[in-house]
Each structure stands twice: as structure tokens, then as C-alpha cells.
């Protein structure tokens, strides 16, 4: 486990979140999916892109255990190889001096073991994760509330709707919702995130997960899942692959592979009568060798490893898919519903500019605006302070320990110097203004109507252009905040602060990429249509849904689905649950309610809505890997025919030796080389199966052309080269 690096990664984004400065947007340094992947790989997160050959050795015992025919029969292709191995071994016993039969048998067994090894390695990675999860699931003792009294019962005896109490230091005994109190909880056992999170009753942050630890305070939790079916149980099953079911596409591919296997079986079992007529008796060993070379063993061996590795790649990105079906569906998604806040924009409105009215300077406005906001702890308020500082150098504070101006440093003047006597007026829903009274100056900032009313009340004048500025900002999708002052010169409006939603850096590029992949993005926001449109235009999304209610969201999903489209969305609230359930890919945020987590088919432990895009890419990558290796596997057969057919029949029809275009040294060596190549190619492709084919967002046409060139043509050519090399090596062995 590399919890350490994971902590680091998440920690960084946490810091960035809390300070909410534009320069430190959580994903500003990760403009697109592939660079994000690269970043993961550089940090050495589990496996993604790395493959340790030692894993093969470690998984060997598991691979041998999988030789059980009852297990093997699930993969029709490899089952045929297993039967073939048994047959050749039996026939070799009948003729023990035949080194050829023994060698072929050995390589056939290796073929089967290599296939099992691929699966075992893929599963092995999950096992490591499952083990560390199990540690978190140590048997807990729950403090169950019955009436007003408390009793201690084992966590496994809890039933749905039981109420339990947890205090600082307690391990939460099961999944549930906080119904009373607020507490900080350490969820690192599940998310790998060491910073504690707040869980409180009511609202969207009430869900707690069994196995996590309460760090402070006391909460009462209502249990919502049965023991053995908790989140952590499901997670363990999932990463271990125990709950793994074949996905629809995997089943379809298996059917195609099985039918190809039958076709080749027919081609091989009908060969002996043809050969006998031609005057060539074919031994069982040779027939099995030919069969194994022809049936699609490469993809047959790697198919399940590809599926497991796909799930694993999600787990590495801290996403839990509740079914493989969901991962596959992710590759097919054609509409993405993205919440504006947190996904497209940084989540808070930020001051973008100060627009003074006629007769006031920008600096004057900035000074007043900043002064009035020093005590304002809302993100908007903070952004005003920072903008004034950055743009006009106001209230410059020498850097302390922080390499960037932190809130503490900025707020330092509040308690000292010029502002010691300041009286802070807080924002209320009635006044819709905040401000400060200091040194005979009274500054107010707030909604246009309220501030104008205040100025008039104080007997002041409202500059004529104030209204125009306000209007212009509103139209651009921003929020105007009026700033007014009353001092010796009377009450007057100074100007307008332009607050705007800041679109995360790099989002436009990402949406362009998605468009090239054929995916439509729809921004979901509670904003009015005007604001929504401005942000949608700036971010470059294809469409937006303004003033969205949960019902609107649901209707939108159903509409898209009625048109045959697959829809993906993220959500965290209880009112998102129906939409999450309706969407083909519903990613619930781990911070969300248990209703949301229950409804979605994936949970993002990092609670990062942008990850939806990566999930889609992983889904696509999974399907591409399957298709690429299938193509490769089938294309390989051509070369194998050219190796084996002349080897078998050139003796009776010398003309067929012209097909021996590889000029293989002897018939035995030709057959053996083909079998060895067939076995080794499985091992050679294990890393690719685990890592997945390299994926870059591009149009389907380009992607097909590229993959056909690499895996189709490559599959045609590679075995010619490989078999020739093996043949040369074999012919070097003395005595053959």
C-alpha cells in the first residue's frame, strides 16, 4: 500500500481547496486527463503504469491453484488448452522417448499457467488493498442505545435502524447517518486521506462509514446497512475480485472467442482424414499444438486480467465501482452532467475587478472595498481582500512563514493599528450589506438595492453610472457588489465590485477533448439562465441547465436516455439520489449522504467531481484494450499457419514448402517455435493488459486507424519475427 503518497496527493488538493486562491486551484496544474495519469504514475501510485516482474513469481502459487478444471471451464479458450495439455502429456507417456512430445506438452502447460498467472497478478494487486482494508475492519464493539441506556454489543450484531453512540477515539461500528451531534472523523482507512472531515446530523454531510474513527465530540448514529454488507465489506469484495461478475461486453466477447475456438476445433479435428488421404499421419501432439496455436489464446488468457485491472485502475484513482458493468458503461457515455460548482468553477465567486463610478479612482474604491471586507470570512470577502492586495499593493504584509499571503496574515491588521477601534457590521439577510465603521468613515458593501437605499437614507447621492455598471456586470454573468461610503464629504457610491465565478483552469481544453471523443457536456447550476450562459460560454460546455432542481436533472437524464444516450453524473445530496440511480454512470461523492452513495454505481472517495472525466477514459481504455488484444490474437494466426502447415505437409506435397516463407529450420522446430511464441506472447502482454492500451482522446476514426495499425498490422507481423527468432535459437541447441 502506498497510503503515504496518496496522502500527499490528496493533502495538496485539500490545502488548495481551503485557501481558494485562483493560483492554487486544485486542478489547475492538471489540465487534462492524460497528464493527470502521468502525474499519478510519477508519484508511484500503486501499479498504474508500473509492472513489477516479481509479481509474476509471487502469483505463481495462485496461478497453479487455478488449474482446477472447474475454474478453468469459465474461460472456454483456456479450457481447451488445458484439455490439450492433458492429452499431449498422456500421449507423451505412451512414447516416453519422444522429446518433441514432452517439449510441446511442457509449453502447453506453461501456456495455461501463464494465462492463470495474468489473472493472479491482476487479482494480487487487489488483494494487497483488501488486506489493508481488513485491518480497518477490526472487530469493533458498538455502544448501542436502547431507550436511554447504553449497552456494549459486537459490531456484527448491529441491525438496520439501531442507534449507536460514538465518542472521540471510537471506531464507527457500521455504516449509518449521524442523527445527533457533530464530530470530526478520520476516514483515512477508506479514503487514504488523513485530514479529518466533519460529519453532522441533517444535511448532506451526515453519512459515516464503518471502520472510520471519530476524533472529537460525540455523535449518535443510525445504522443503515446490515453487517457484512457495509461499504467496507463491499470494497473488500470488490478489490479482491470476489464480487466480480462478467460484464455484458465481456460475455459477448467470450461468445465470439468461443465460436472462433469451435471453428478452429473443427478445422483441426477434420484434418486427420484429409492428411491420411494425402499420406501423412498426424500425431495427437501435433494436432493439439496446431489447435492451441490457432485458437485465440492471447486474448483468452488475458481477458479476465484486463477486466480486473480496469477496476483496479479506478481503485487507484480512489473510485469504487460497484459493478464492472458501470465501468463499461462509462466508456459508452455520451452525455456528461457536470455540476457547475466544484467541477467547472472553483466553487466560490471571486472578486475579478473594481469598477469605480465617475469621480472616484480605482484605488480609492479598492481601499474601501478591502477595508470593508477585512472581517468578512466568506470566500467572496476574502477574494476582495486578496484582489486589492495583489492589484494595488494595499495593506502589504511582509511574508511570514507562508510563501503566499495566508488569511491569518491578511487579517492581522484587524486586531492592531489603524483598525483597533473599528466596528464591524456583519452581513444579515435583512440588511443584505456588511461593512465597517472606522475613524468616522462608514463603509458599506452589498446588493445594489440595499446599498443605494442606505446611501439615500444617509442623504447622499447615487452616481448616475452606478446603475449601468451594475447592469453590465449582471449581464456578463457576474454578481455586482456596490460599495458606498459616508465620510466628511457625505454619503456616496464609490463603485462596484465585480464578483464572478472563476472557471477552473484548463476546463475548456478538457471539454474540447470530450467533444472530440463525442461526449456532450451539460453544466448543471442553480444560477439564473443569464449567469449560467455566461459561465457555460466561458467554460466551453456544450449545454447548460440553469435554475436546476432535482426534478429538472431527472427530466434531463430521462430525455437524453430516451434518445439512446448514456448519461453520467456526479452527486452528493439526498435529493440527487433518484438522478444518480437513473443515470447510467452515477458517481456519488464520498462526502455525500448514504442515500446518494447507495443510489450511484460508483463512489469517489476523494469527492472530486472532475474525476468523472477520468472515469470515462478508464472505461474506454478497458474496452480498447480488449479489442486491441483480440485483434492482435486473431492476426497472429496467419503467421502460425505459415509456420505449421508447411511443416506438416511439405513431406507429402513438396510444393507446400514454398509457404515456409520464414525458412524455419525443421518441421519439429517450426511447430515448437509457434507453440513457444504462443505461450511467451501471453507473458509479454501481461503488462499491457494490466496497464491498459495507451489512450488519448481523439476521434473514433483516428483511434481505429491507430489501433488497427499497431495491433492489427503488428499482430500480423510480430509472430513472423518472433517465431523466426525462436526457431533460430532452437536450432542452436545441440543434438536437435
Amino acid at each position: 500500500m502506498t497510503t503515504g503518497t496518496r496522502k500527499h496527493d490528496s493533502k495538496r488538493s485539500q490545502d488548495a481547496m481551503s485557501t481558494a486562491t485562483p493560483t492554487q486551484a486544485p486542478h489547475s496544474d492538471l489540465p487534462s486527463g492524460h497528464t493527470a495519469h502521468a502525474a499519478h504514475a510519477e508519484e508511484g501510485r500503486v501499479g498504474a503504469g508500473l509492472f513489477d516482474p516479481k509479481q509474476l513469481l509471487r502469483s505463481l502459487p495462485d496461478a497453479c491453484r487455478k488449474l482446477d478444471p472447474r475454474v478453468m471451464v469459465k474461460s472456454p479458450v483456456m479450457f481447451v488448452v488445458l484439455v490439450g495439455s492433458v492429452l499431449t502429456t498422456v500421449f507423451s507417456f505412451k512414447d516416453p522417448s519422444d522429446w518433441f512430445g514432452w517439449t510441446i506438452s511442457a509449453w502447453l502447460w506453461l501456456t495455461v499457467i501463464f494465462a492463470n498467472l495474468a489473472e493472479a497478478v491482476a487479482e494480487g494487486r487487489g488483494k494487497a488493498q483488501a488486506d489493508s482494508l481488513r485491518k480497518a475492519k477490526t472487530d469493533t464493539v458498538a455502544r448501542r442505545l436502547t431507550g436511554s441506556s447504553e449497552e456494549h454489543v459486537p459490531g456484527t450484531e448491529l441491525r438496520v435502524d439501531d442507534l449507536v453512540v460514538c465518542e472521540a477515539g471510537d471506531i464507527v461500528p457500521g455504516d449509518g447517518d449521524v442523527v445527533e451531534g457533530v464530530a470530526s472523523v478520520d476516514e483515512s482507512a477508506i479514503t487514504g486521506e488523513s485530514a479529518p472531515v466533519i460529519r453532522e446530523s441533517g444535511g448532506d454531510r451526515s453519512a459515516v462509514t464503518g471502520g472510520t474513527k471519530v476524533l472529537s465530540d460525540r455523535v449518535v448514529i443510525k445504522i443503515t446497512t446490515k453487517p457484512g454488507e457495509t461499504f467496507i465489506d463491499r470494497m473488500i469484495n470488490l478489490v479482491e475480485g470476489a464480487a466480480r461478475q462478467k460484464t455484458p461486453n465481456e460475455i459477448a466477447l467470450n461468445i465470439l472467442l468461443a465460436s472462433l475456438t469451435i471453428v478452429f476445433l473443427l478445422a483441426v479435428v477434420t484434418l486427420p482424414p484429409f492428411a491420411d488421404y494425402a499420406g501423412r499421419h498426424l500425431s495427437m501432439v501435433v494436432l493439439v499444438a496446431l489447435l492451441v496455436c490457432l485458437i485465440p489464446t492471447t486474448i483468452g488468457a488475458l481477458l479476465s486480467a484486463i477486466g480486473i485491472a480496469g477496476m483496479d485502475r479506478l481503485v487507484q484513482r480512489n473510485v469504487l465501482a460497484m459493478s464492472g458493468r458501470a465501468v463499461e458503461a462509462a466508456g459508452d457515455v455520451s452525455t456528461l452532467l457536470l455540476d457547475k460548482t466544484g467541477t467547472i468553477t472553483l466553487g466560490n465567486r471571486q472578486a475579478a475587478e473594481f469598477v469605480p463610478v465617475n469621480g472616484t479612482t480605482e484605488a480609492e474604491l479598492a481601499d474601501a472595498a478591502q477595508l470593508s471586507s477585512l472581517a468578512d470570512e466568506t470566500p467572496e470577502g476574502r477574494s476582495i481582500v486578496i484582489l486589492a492586495k495583489e492589484k494595488y499593493g494595499l495593506r502589504e504584509i511582509p511574508p511570514v512563514a507562508h510563501h503566499h499571503p495566508s488569511e491569518e496574515a491578511l487579517r492581522a491588521p484587524i486586531s492592531s493599528g489603524e483598525l483597533a477601534a473599528a466596528e464591524w457590521i456583519a452581513f444579515t439577510a435583512q440588511t443584505r450589506m456588511s461593512g465597517v465603521d472606522v475613524d468616522g468613515r462608514r463603509i458599506r458593501k452589498g446588493a445594489a438595492g440595499s446599498v443605494i437605499a442606505w446611501v439615500r437614507e444617509e442623504g447622499g447621492t447615487v452616481a448616475r453610472d452606478a446603475d449601468g455598471i451594475t447592469h453590465r456586470i449582471s449581464e456578463a454573468g457576474g454578481t455586482p457588489l456596490l460599495v458606498a461610503v459616508k465620510d466628511g464629504k457625505g454619503a456616496r457610491v464609490l463603485g462596484v465590485i465585480h464578483l464572478k465565478d472563476v472557471v477552473k483552469h484548463g476546463m475548456r481544453e478538457r471539454f474540447d477533448e470530450l467533444r472530440r471523443m463525442g461526449i456532450k457536456t451539460v453544466m448543471i447550476t442553480g444560477d439564473n439562465p443569464l449567469t449560467a450562459k455566461a459561465i457555460a460560454d466561458e467554460a466551453g460546455v456544450d449545454d447548460f441547465l440553469a435554475e436546476a432542481t432535482p426534478e429538472d436533472k431527472m427530466a434531463l437524464i430521462k430525455r437524453e436516455q430516451a434518445g439512446g444516450k448514456l448519461v453520467a453524473m456526479t452527486g452528493d445530496g439526498t435529493n440527487d439520489a433518484p438522478a444518480l440511480a437513473q443515470a447510467d454512470v452515477g458517481v456519488a461523492m464520498n462526502t455525500g449522504t448514504s442515500a446518494a452513495k447507495e443510489a450511484g454505481n460508483m463512489v469517489d472517495l476523494d469527492s472530486n467531481p472532475t474525476k468523472l472525466i477520468e472515469i470515462v477514459e478508464i472505461g474506454k481504455q478497458l474496452l480498447i484494450t480488449r479489442g486491441a488484444l483480440t485483434t492482435f490474437s486473431i492476426a497472429n494466426d496467419v503467421a502460425k499457419y505459415f509456420a505449421i502447415i508447411p511443416a506438416l505437409f511439405a513431406a507429402v506435397y513438396p510444393g507446400l514448402d514454398k509457404l515456409n516463407i520464414m525458412q524455419l529450420s525443421s518441421p519439429d522446430s517450426a511447430i515448437l517455435s509457434a507453440v513457444i511464441f504462443n505461450a511467451l506472447i501471453i507473458v509479454a502482454l501481461v503488462p499491457l493488459a494490466l496497464k491498459g492500451v495507451r489512450y488519448r482522446p481523439m476521434s473514433a476514426d483516428r483511434m481505429l486507424r491507430r489501433n488497427l495499425a499497431v495491433y492489427g498490422l503488428g499482430g500480423l507481423v510480430a509472430p513472423f519475427v518472433g517465431i523466426k527468432i525462436i526457431d533460430v535459437l532452437i536450432s542452436l541447441v545441440p543434438g536437435l
Binding site: 473443427l266 466508456g331 444516450k565
Partner: protein, 554 residues
């Protein structure tokens, strides 16, 4: 003019003629199978057979129609042959033996037209016209109907309804096959093919001795024989016989008739699924394989070296002087790439490679352009296989024409592609393993093996051409080839219709930039590759021991 140039010019003329017919015929068929109106004569037929042409059928009902109609056809044709001896207008021929009657009945109903009898010495006017000629029409119409049902499966959504079998059958005969074959027969008569009900003539030969000629409704049978990709000749010599195929022009005209419906159906397909480009992509795939095979055939037949060959301008053995190497190569490829099986030359006498090309043509599944209807549905099945693999490579669950290729669809497609290889290889292997069937071979070695491989390839793929050189009128061959023909025809239809039903129920997925573009040349290339690789890999060992061993020997 050199024979090579003549051959190439004939091919070009053929391409131009097919190109001219493509649009009007394809659009006409699309209208025929989409229209709501019934012709008066059609209404009489519906009344006569007691069918309601307006009920929509789901796939099981459609399939029941196909099977019931065909079963009745087999039974009727069998009885007609068995009773020939007591029927008037039979030129005094005996009733046909049970095994041969079964074989012939299966053969004509399955649109195969494998003939283990000598037409002019076994079948009288009644069986020829009332039995065989009728099946030439209806078996072709059944093929088109099944193809149209599959096309509707792609075109329709959220319904299981595939149209009405009886209406598709009757319209195919009345509005497509009869009008064109009447025109075709007139052209053939004008060019010298015979059309009468004359009896047997005794004619003296140049070198003494005598031979018997009989007349018959040859030109009309010839027209539908080619147009419906049937291939059963009036005479044993088939289209090599001057009464059936008098000269070089009729030869080319017959090839045109063979190819015109299968190619034009791709336009019908494009029209009905609402994207002509999709039809062009399928057309391009078929055309690429057809032209490629014809070019290869001409190359191997013209190129074949040696003094005798050089004098003749190529491998002339078994070919008619009036057609030459070029005309014979064009005919041989067209007849084996469709389910026709008519021959104007003897495939057994082609070069080793040439014989292999005719066999591989059938082994591709006869889909370039294939039989009337069966070519289109066969190619669409291959397209589904190609889309499945390629679709994965673009990172989406594979879809074709907006329909997802899921577990059910791939299951039916996989079963489809299993049927004919299983029939061909298993029957050939059993025949080779048993002592008696091998006695029918007239040649030793690889060529003898080719004779049997060809027979089952031709039967199971519903081609019906014979390699020649195999005495196939034995109990064994009549029975097994008869079975191969029936299973090779109707099992795939079961899977095609089941697939059509499954597709019709789906709701279409809209195309996006992430969708595999199946109307692009890249996809055509991929489809050609898939067709060649799937068939090539299946039959490579068998072909290596037959035509390849022979062709590479020199």
C-alpha cells in the same frame, strides 16, 4: 485484340452495366419492400393462399413462414419428381429415385441448384417448368425477404416487427424477379438461346454416330437461373451449352444477371436504413472482393505457362472457345462469389490456384456480392463481427447503424458463422474417412480431395456448382449434400431472423464523434480483412491439401 485485353474490357463493360442498373434497381426494390399498396394480382395470390399481407410479424412468425413455405416446396418438388413417370409432358423420362429426388428438391428449395442428374436425360417439361423453375423464383424471393427482414431490424426501433413474410415473398416474385427475368429471357432468345417445348431430336455428329437433343423453355429458365442466383441448368453442361449460352455477349449478360440484384440490394439497404453511404460501404466491400478475385483468376488462368498453354493463350482446358479465358474467369468468379453455381466452364479443369479461387469464393460465405438476399445478410453478419472487434478498439460498446452489438446479437452472429464451416468440414472429413465415398473421385491426389471438398463447400454454401470429376449420384452424396444444402440454407436464416428481431427491439444510439464510422473506407478495408481472415483461417488447412498443394506443385 489480345485475349487478356478482351478479358479486361469485358470486366469493365460489366462494371459499367452494373453501375447503370444499381440506382434504379436498388431504389425500385426499396420502394417494393416499403410500399403499403398491393397490386391486384398480389391480392388474388393472398386470397388464394389465405394470407393477410398487412399483419406485421415478429421474428418467430416470420421464420415460421419461411420454414413452412420451404418445407411445402421440398415436399411438392419431391413428389413431382417421384411421380414424373406417370405425368404427361415428361418426354417419357422415368420417375426419379428417392435419394436423388430428395437431393434435387432440397437443392432447388435451398437456392442451391446442385444437380446430381443430367437435365436433358432425366427431367421432363413438367418438372423443369412447374417444379424447378418455380423454385428458381420463390427460393430467390425467400432469400431477399430474409435480407429485407434483417434490414428492417436495423431500420426499425422499439418494435419486434419485421414485416410480413408473405407480402415480401409475393412482391419479390411479382415486382422484381418476374419483370427482370422476362426482359432477360427476351434478350437471351434474341441472342439465340432456345425457348420451346420441343421433344427429343436425334442429330448426326460430324464424326459419325448420333446424339440426342431436346428442346425446352430454356431461355426463360436461364434468365431466372442467373437472376435468382440459382444456377440449375436446363442441360447438364449448364451455361457452357450453346442452347443456354450462345455467345460471348450472352455470357457477359448472364454474369450481369447473376450480379445485378445482389449488388443493387446494398442500395436498397442504404435506402431503407436511411443512409445511402452505409449501403455504399457494403457495396464497396463486395465490389473490392469481387474485382480482386476476378483479377486473380484472370492472372492465374492467363499466366499458366507451358507451350500448350501459350498457344491457347492461357489455361483453355475445360473452357469454351466462344468465351475464352477472360469470359470464363469472369463467369467462374461471379458464380462462386454468389450462390449461383451456374458454370460456363469446368472448374475442375482450371489451374490449381484457379480452382482454389472458386472454392475460397464460396467459403467466404458467398457474400461478395453473394446470393439474392443471402449475400446481403451474410455480409451484414460479417459487418457485425467486424464492428464488434473494431468497435471495442474505439472504446465503446460496439454498435452498427445505431444498434448495439451486445451479447444476444453476437451470439446469433457467431452461430451464423459457425454453420457452414461445420457442415463443410465435418461432411468432407467423414466422406474422406469412409471407404465408399472416395470411390466417387475421378482423380487421385490433391485434385481428388478438391473434388469432395468442393462438393460440400458448394452444397453447404448453397452454391450448387460442381467441380466436375465427382460421381455424385450415389446414395451417400445425394443424402449428405442434400442435408448440407438444407442446413446450410435454413439454419443461418434462423439466426439472421432472430438477430433481426433483437435489433428491431433496440432503441437506436445516436452517432457522435466517438462512434465508429461504418460508412468510411477504413471500415470497408476492415470488413474486407475480416471476411478474408475469418474464411481464410477456417479453411487454410483444407485448402492447403487441395488446390494449394496442386497450385504450388509446379
Amino acid at each position: 485484340m489480345s485475349p487478356v485485353l478482351a478479358g479486361v474490357l469485358q470486366l469493365l463493360a460489366l462494371i459499367v452495366a452494373l453501375g447503370l442498373a444499381y440506382r434504379p434497381l436498388g431504389d425500385h426494390m426499396a420502394r417494393v419492400y416499403s410500399s403499403d399498396r398491393h397490386l391486384r394480382v398480389e391480392k388474388w395470390i393472398y386470397k388464394g393462399i389465405g394470407a393477410d399481407p398487412d399483419t406485421q410479424m415478429r421474428w418467430p412468425a416470420y421464420l415460421r413462414g419461411v420454414l413452412a413455405f420451404s418445407a411445402v416446396g421440398v415436399l411438392f418438388l419431391y413428389l413431382l419428381q417421384r411421380l414424373q413417370g406417370s405425368l404427361p409432358g415428361s418426354l417419357g423420362f422415368r420417375s426419379i429415385d428417392p435419394d436423388q429426388a430428395f437431393n434435387t428438391a432440397a437443392s432447388f428449395v435451398a437456392n442451391t441448384n446442385w444437380q446430381s442428374y443430367y437435365g436433358e436425360q432425366a427431367m421432363g417439361h413438367v418438372v423443369q417448368t412447374a417444379g424447378l423453375a418455380v423454385q428458381n423464383f420463390v427460393s430467390a424471393a425467400v432469400g431477399i425477404a430474409v435480407a429485407v427482414a434483417l434490414v428492417r431490424g436495423f431500420a426499425r426501433s422499439r418494435t419486434g416487427e419485421l414485416g410480413n413474410f408473405w407480402s415480401d415473398l409475393v412482391r419479390g416474385v411479382i415486382r422484381v424477379l418476374i419483370p427482370i427475368s422476362v426482359l432477360g429471357a427476351l434478350v437471351l432468345v434474341a441472342c439465340g438461346a432456345i425457348q420451346n417445348f420441343a421433344g427429343i431430336h436425334e442429330v448426326g455428329q460430324f464424326l459419325g454416330g448420333s446424339q440426342q437433343w431436346n428442346g425446352g423453355a430454356v431461355a426463360s429458365q436461364e434468365a431466372i437461373k442467373e437472376l435468382g442466383t440459382n444456377g440449375g441448368g436446363y442441360f447438364n453442361a449448364n451455361s457452357a451449352h450453346p442452347f443456354e449460352n450462345p455467345d460471348g455477349f450472352t455470357n457477359l449478360f448472364e454474369v450481369f444477371l447473376i450480379l445485378v440484384i445482389p449488388f443493387a440490394l446494398t442500395r436498397t439497404f442504404g435506402r431503407m436504413v436511411g443512409s445511402l453511404k452505409q449501403g455504399y460501404a457494403i457495396l464497396a466491400t463486395m465490389a473490392a472482393i469481387w474485382i480482386g478475385f476476378t483479377a486473380l483468376m484472370m492472372w492465374t488462368e492467363f499466366h499458366h505457362g507451358g507451350p500448350a498453354f501459350d498457344l491457347a493463350g492461357g489455361a483453355m482446358e475445360g473452357k469454351e472457345n466462344r468465351f475464352g479465358v477472360g469470359g470464363s474467369s469472369i463467369f467462374a468468379v461471379a458464380t462462386t462469389l454468389t450462390s449461383t453455381g451456374a458454370v460456363d466452364s469446368f472448374h475442375s479443369s482450371f489451374t490449381g490456384f484457379g480452382g482454389g479461387i472458386t472454392m475460397l469464393g464460396m467459403q467466404l460465405g458467398e457474400i461478395a456480392p453473394g446470393g439474392t438476399g443471402s449475400g446481403l445478410y451474410g455480409m451484414l453478419i460479417m459487418a457485425i463481427i467486424a464492428v464488434f472487434i473494431a468497435g471495442l478498439m474505439v472504446g465503446r460498446t460496439p454498435e452498427y447503424l445505431g444498434k448495439k452489438i451486445g451479447t444476444r446479437e453476437i451470439k446469433f452472429a457467431a452461430c451464423y458463422i459457425l454453420v457452414t464451416p461445420a457442415l463443410v468440414l465435418v461432411f468432407t472429413a467423414v466422406a474422406m474417412a469412409l471407404p465408399t465415398p472416395r470411390h466417387s473421385m475421378l482423380n487421385p491426389g490433391a485434385h481428388g480431395f478438391s473434388e469432395i471438398l468442393y462438393a460440400y463447400t458448394s452444397g453447404a454454401n448453397n452454391n450448387g456448382s460442381a467441380f466436375a470429376g465427382l460421381s455424385s449420384d450415389t446414395d451417400w452424396f445425394n443424402t449428405t449434400i442434400g442435408l448440407a444444402m438444407l442446413l446450410g440454407r435454413f439454419l443461418p436464416m434462423v439466426f439472421v431472423l432472430a438477430l433481426a428481431g433483437s435489433l428491431a427491439e433496440q432503441q437506436p444510439v445516436p452517432a457522435t464523434a466517438g462512434t465508429l464510422r461504418t460508412e468510411k473506407p477504413l471500415f470497408t478495408g476492415l470488413l474486407v480483412g475480416t471476411v478474408l481472415i475469418v474464411a481464410g483461417l477456417t479453411y487454410f488447412p483444407a485448402l492447403a491439401l487441395g488446390p494449394l498443394a496442386e497450385g504450388l506443385a509446379s
